[in-house]
Symmetry: D2
Subunit: 161 residues, 4 copies
């Protein structure tokens, strides 16, 4: 079993720029995060252009799909912004790739106190290795199937439809 | 689906005592950790006496077994010291309780920089909800069955026998 | 010797709101920060309305001045946004209050990784107790007098005029 | 003005060894800490053998003294274990070097949650630049002279004699 992790940006990977005072993207935290996890399963990290998921266009989602299709691994974790995570999950789910693909992200950036990023990545990494082929979302300690998940933005949690 | 988390101490929950300069046990970090995870599945936290797993005696392991037997939940995560995690897993595995029980812990305490605690808890929480009944160890991003896992102390990683 | 700490917001005290994904103000971090410093000198914390210093108006600066005038303490630290810190320092400096007043802040919010907030607060807390009456800025490990300091925004550092 | 920082180990710089489960010394945190402070005053970091201050012998203190004597800088901060900080301060104080020397340390290691290390370093860095020649201890947000300071081990705080 080996694992591919596809980084697409999102809140998980946001970085505070001290010159502008804004949260944006710089070097991904994922290499440091993966070292911290002490994962011994072989992990391949693939970094796509980091995006706020509200800025994701069709072409960006198509690129995520292409990466999943091209991946030699059977188990894939996608680190993704939360706001449009269900949309990307739906695109991947409809493609029926025969792989175990789990999307996850964070409500608080990895570098900010009290972040859920590391926990969510743990959920997703285990789920991608255990679950049968399909597309899933791992957030709030739950596993959702791609066709039965939505983000409740007012409450800041994921839930079934 | 609801989840029981049984805290038994271990490296995960160690606390630095600034008066003695030693790592020991104080109030468990688990309540704060669980809030941080933003888990929406109902979680019951059960705190057993916190122990370094090298100090665990037969009676301590029997108490963990009793807690698993008494638990109404089908999915159980046990936060445990790493050094004797396989021994406790073996005791639980032999009892064939018909529940999905996942032991996890940490190589670095939750409160120390670069800790794997939150990631491991994520792996275990997902695994306990997904896996069929049985007893497992979730460490290093991998899921091991109770009868095929050992801690390689020299390397600081868990591996199959 | 006792110390007054006047919190006015600024980058130091910004908080990430996970529902909006924006940095703003919530409960001040200062009470937790002060506990963490283990200061044994008596400290009085005064919280003014938290503001990004770019949003500070004349009335806001006048309120800071009034707080300094009313303070029974001889040593005062003001936690302030960096962008207009020299302006507030100049207002206080011109008032010649006969107290040792040190403004400080942070380039990275206290709750974000790699923050300079705690270090800067240490510099300011020591300086306010040691320096003769006057108004100073403590940033980048240096002490500047109110009439000879500017923020180099391109470089993100404070320097003499 | 330039600043020399002499690292001697102590609680400030302790590191958790995940293979042994013990706190000891590895690479010093000081280079990363100094980058984090964003100090713009020229800083020279001198690393002496890292020691728990309870293990410091006369020869170790003599080495600290020699470093202070040899330093071209007028302002010196010494990062030191707390348990025998007053003893080293007394040795340096008796030597009357004509420099501003401030000893500091931490009750909680830099890498452990809720550490006072960064705050204390801020206090000491400002104090060393401001104070007249002499030897001082900066802990608990206070500045003590070398001949009037003791650690109250039961309370975990520094206080005058």
């Amino acid at each position: 079993m080996s694992l591919r992790i596809i980084a697409t940006g999102g809140t998980f990977d946001k970085h505070y720029d001290e010159l502008t005072g804004k949260l944006g993207f710089a070097e991904s935290h994922l290499p440091a995060v993966l070292a911290r996890t002490r994962m011994t399963v072989p992990v391949e990290l693939e970094q796509l252009p980091p995006l706020d998921s509200l800025d994701m266009q069709d072409a960006d989602r198509a690129r995520v799909l292409a990466s999943c299709q091209a991946a030699p691994e059977q188990a894939i974790v996608i680190v993704h912004g939360t706001d449009t995570m269900p949309e990307t999950a739906a695109l991947l789910g409809g493609a029926a790739l025969g792989k175990s693909i789990v999307l996850t992200g964070a409500m608080i950036p990895y570098e900010i106190a009290n972040s859920d990023a590391l926990f969510n990545l743990g959920c997703a990494s285990a789920a991608a290795q255990i679950l049968p082929p399909g597309v899933y979302v791992a957030m709030n300690g739950q596993i959702f199937t791609w066709d039965n998940v939505t983000k409740n933005r007012a409450a800041g949690v994921f839930q079934p439809l």
